[in-house]
């Protein structure tokens, strides 16, 4: 079953800005899906329409088969939203925020409090339940918004840049938590600026730019479209100049750091064989840029060039 299906979805704001130009998108039940795009591409508008915070100007959106116009109550009941911007009542207590949200979804008070405890414990916020939201750190507020979005146990969880401004340790613990939620059967749609996050978590990806979907495929297939990757190699011994290798462009960053471009179709083992033949030993290696980030930039640039032509 499709968790989300958008058909010819469009949005033109009253000032004439066309945020979405008739996009089609579907997300299967149980998926962990990434919706990527530069600032102002239309990601948040798409999410806003799906969650009814933004009114669409054309097209249809269905959530688990429920049309957001005709069957809005059932459609909304399926969704949990973690918005991009903090939208907590800063003067309300942590437990009350989560339980109140449960109430808005029709949960009796007792059950809402029970669920609030469950998710606040899972997100390590239970000890802060009597504190007002304003007193929490940025990372805690993000986790509180996740707990709030889960209190009615939605089938579709939408996270709009959930880890923005969160340190790496908390980000990784949030990733682990989201993987657990997804493994329990909840479909997750994620927008993020940390493309490493999307690459790590998501099975499918759509890239949106200037209100249009420019790529929509499995994450692994999208990454395969990369034409070239640059690897940063840490050397055992210092070099004076970059070695000349057939089929590989290399640059010496400093005497112990070498960059090598590997085009798609080339075997990375061959690079090491060539380096060994030149008497160079490598002690460590990493990608220069996040692979998805590289592809993302290339796709966006290609579209811009195409339009300019």
């Amino acid at each position: 079953m499709k968790a989300l299906e958008l058909k010819n979805l469009s949005k033109t704001y009253p000032n004439g800005v066309q945020a979405l130009t008739g996009i089609d998108l579907s997300v299967e039940e149980g998926d962990f899906f990434a919706l990527l795009g530069p600032n102002g591409a239309g990601k948040s508008t798409t999410i806003g329409i799906v969650t009814s915070l933004v009114t669409k100007t054309g097209g249809t959106a269905t959530i688990f088969g429920h049309d957001i116009d005709r069957d809005f109550s059932a459609a909304k009941a399926c969704i949990g939203l973690v918005p991009q911007e903090l939208n907590l009542n800063q003067f309300e207590k942590v437990e009350s925020i989560v339980a109140t949200q449960g109430g808005y979804y029709g949960l009796p008070r007792g059950l809402a409090l029970e669920r609030a405890e469950k998710y606040l414990r899972e997100l390590q916020l239970w000890d802060r339940r009597h504190d007002i939201a304003r007193s929490l750190s940025g990372g805690m507020k993000r986790r509180l918004m996740i707990a709030r979005a889960l209190v009615h146990e939605p089938r579709l969880l939408i996270l709009d840049e959930p880890t923005a401004g969160v340190d790496i340790e908390i980000r990784r613990s949030m990733w682990a938590f989201l993987r657990k939620v997804n493994a329990a059967g909840v479909t997750i749609i994620l927008t993020t600026h940390y493309l490493e996050e999307a690459e790590n978590l998501c099975r499918n990806v759509a890239i949106i730019d200037q209100g249009r979907i420019i790529e929509n495929d499995r994450m692994s297939r999208v990454l395969r479209k990369l034409q070239m990757e640059t690897f940063v190699l840490t050397l055992e011994h210092e070099l004076d100049a970059a070695p000349r290798l057939d089929d590989y462009d290399t640059r010496l960053v400093d005497p112990l750091t070498l960059e090598a471009d590997v085009h798609s179709g080339r075997d990375i083992n061959e690079l090491f064989r060539a380096l060994s033949a030149a008497g160079i030993r490598v002690v460590a290696m990493r990608n220069k840029a996040n692979r998805l980030e590289e592809l993302f930039m290339r796709l966006v640039e290609q579209k811009k060039d195409g339009r300019a032509a």
Partner: protein, 257 residues
Amino acid sequence: MNLRNQWYAFSTLVIKEYNRIVRIWIQTIVPPAITMTLYFIIFGSLIGRRIGEMDGYDYMQFIAPGLIMLSVITNSYGNVVSSFFGAKFGRHIEEMLVSPMPNYLILLGHVAGGVIRGLFVGAIVTVVALFFTRLHVQHPLIVLSTVILTAIVFALGGFINAVFAKKFDDISIVPTFVLTPLTYLGGVFYSISLLPEFWQAVSRANPILYMVNAFRYGVLGTSDIPIGTAYAIIFVAIGLLYTFSLYLLNKGIGIRE
């Protein structure tokens, strides 16, 4: 959402509004109690003695129902306008908008909050009034019904104000430039029979006059206007304001992009 779920959603919103009123009691409860005490001391006790009787009652007794109604009107209006606009400004209104709670429940929940604060403050002002004068309620049902219905009217008014407000200044314009003058000229401090014919006719165009007088009739048994007309005006106002508020919510005006 079935009826039971709707009830849970509505009661959640009402509890939240009630908690807000109690949490910020220093802003919601104390100021009207102090203001009304000053009114009773200055207008009732000091100046009122020189005025003598009004419509057959001593001046303190005459203004007590009007002052109670004045506090109900300003507090029911003020509660909804500040709560709903605050939720818009802080964006936590999205908690309600993304939920399956129907729009009419969002409206009724906020109106209930306004009525609760109006009645709460009205009760406190009544207690304050009893320190200064004696009030023998003549028609309890009229007292109760007019105070609740009037609170509903102004809670709805506060809601509409909050929907259109874009900044905090916008939520004080109507109370300052419309509500306060209409209330003061609505027979709180005087009987319109004291006015010349022309100004009596002008006063009759003020809907607050009818609400204050209906309440005063319930308490003292005297009124400048027919009670039936007062109820008709209140019900028409509720019908119109409720319909307009729901229209604004359904259209998403001021709250959805």
